[in-house]
Symmetry: C2
Subunit: 215 residues, 2 copies
């Protein structure tokens, strides 16, 4: 299949398509039209056709999309047909929550290790996985072919840890620390700044209150 350069906006929408289509597949639905999918997802049918056309257009006029093959194709595009090995840095509540989240492993994201600078936690088991000291991080990443490092540590230590991760050629960082990381272009970063999303809520609540008062 010939692949064009796909915008990050389209890529951002693919996981949502995958979620709906996987649900349909689990319900036993074999095919769906862009109109029906549009109703379920509250997106226009033309947006759906445009988005899915980027990948060669799996839909057929008068037939619709084959749900199972679309699930397979989107998963492949997202790189979910291969396994990704992950370490978590920071064994606090958030690190533990991510480690215990079973849905990630169902999609091929395999947690291999968790690290913390607090000696009191070393050796503690979270599920099947033992908390290790930071000194072992670099050798562990190399030995276990780790692709992705998750940062669930305070921003004060995130910068130094990021330097170590770049040193051992990590491919991607999933960053929950409240700071923007400075990394070379070849390292992928995806930020989850939780406060930012809470502040957006706060803005929209206040705007709503204001609108009610003005009306």
């Amino acid at each position: 299949m010939e692949e064009k350069e796909i915008s990050q906006a389209v890529i951002s929408r693919l996981p949502r398509y995958l979620r709906y289509l996987t649900e349909l597949k689990d319900e036993g639905v074999e095919r769906i039209s862009s109109q029906e999918l549009s109703k379920r997802m509250q997106v226009t049918a033309s947006q759906i056709r445009q988005d899915l056309n980027h990948f060669g257009g799996f839909g057929q006029q008068g037939y619709g999309y084959n749900v199972e093959s679309l699930v397979t194709e989107i998963a492949k595009i997202l790189g979910l047909d291969q396994e990704h090995y992950i370490v978590i840095i920071g064994a606090g509540n958030l690190g533990q929550a991510l480690l215990n989240y079973a849905n990630f492993s169902r999609r091929g994201f395999i947690f291999k290790g968790i690290f913390d600078s607090n000696p009191a936690l070393h050796g503690m088991k979270i599920g099947e996985i033992e908390v290790r000291p930071m000194e072992e991080l670099k050798s562990f990443i190399k030995k276990n072919n780790i692709d992705i490092a998750v940062l669930t540590i305070p921003k004060t230590s995130a910068v130094e840890v990021t330097r170590q991760l770049v040193d051992c050629s990590i491919k991607a960082i999933w960053n929950f620390a409240h700071v923007d990381l400075d990394v070379p272009d070849e390292v992928q970063v995806e930020n989850v700044h939780l406060s930012d999303s809470l502040m957006k809520l706060s803005y929209n609540i206040c705007r709503n209150k204001k609108a009610e008062k003005d009306s």
Copy 2:
């Protein structure tokens, strides 16, 4: 100050401005030009001027922005000059992580209660706050002027709980459940779909690998 309708894209960028400007303030910096801020934030100076002009343009030619007053203004626009009362539904690791995150309360987000359907957790204390049964949710929300409900429960229960929240006129839902919620327009929803962000990373890792192979 006359306020125009501000796009959600601009609003999404405000928390990041607030983060950088608060750091500058903490460092004792009193004023900053859009050029200097641009260098720090890796955004163009013209983007900064455009964004901040939405709020009446606090900058002065040849002087730059007054850091402290900009922090105050942005916080006010985001509704952070008032307190927001929050409940968490789901006392698992993620719920506990959010409850324990001190930075939220610094910004006026006050956690008032945490609820879970599992009787084994009822009465357990997380920090100062006791886990309550779901049966108390509605009366608690009304009695404590709760603005925001956080959903850290599986998607299977999220739909039913959302119905209850809408019934007692919740203003906003911060949704970590892996499902899109169906709510009336006046209820604000902010989704944090963690798998989606992990899948974006996976896509970008695979694209990078492919580019390396092709080159």
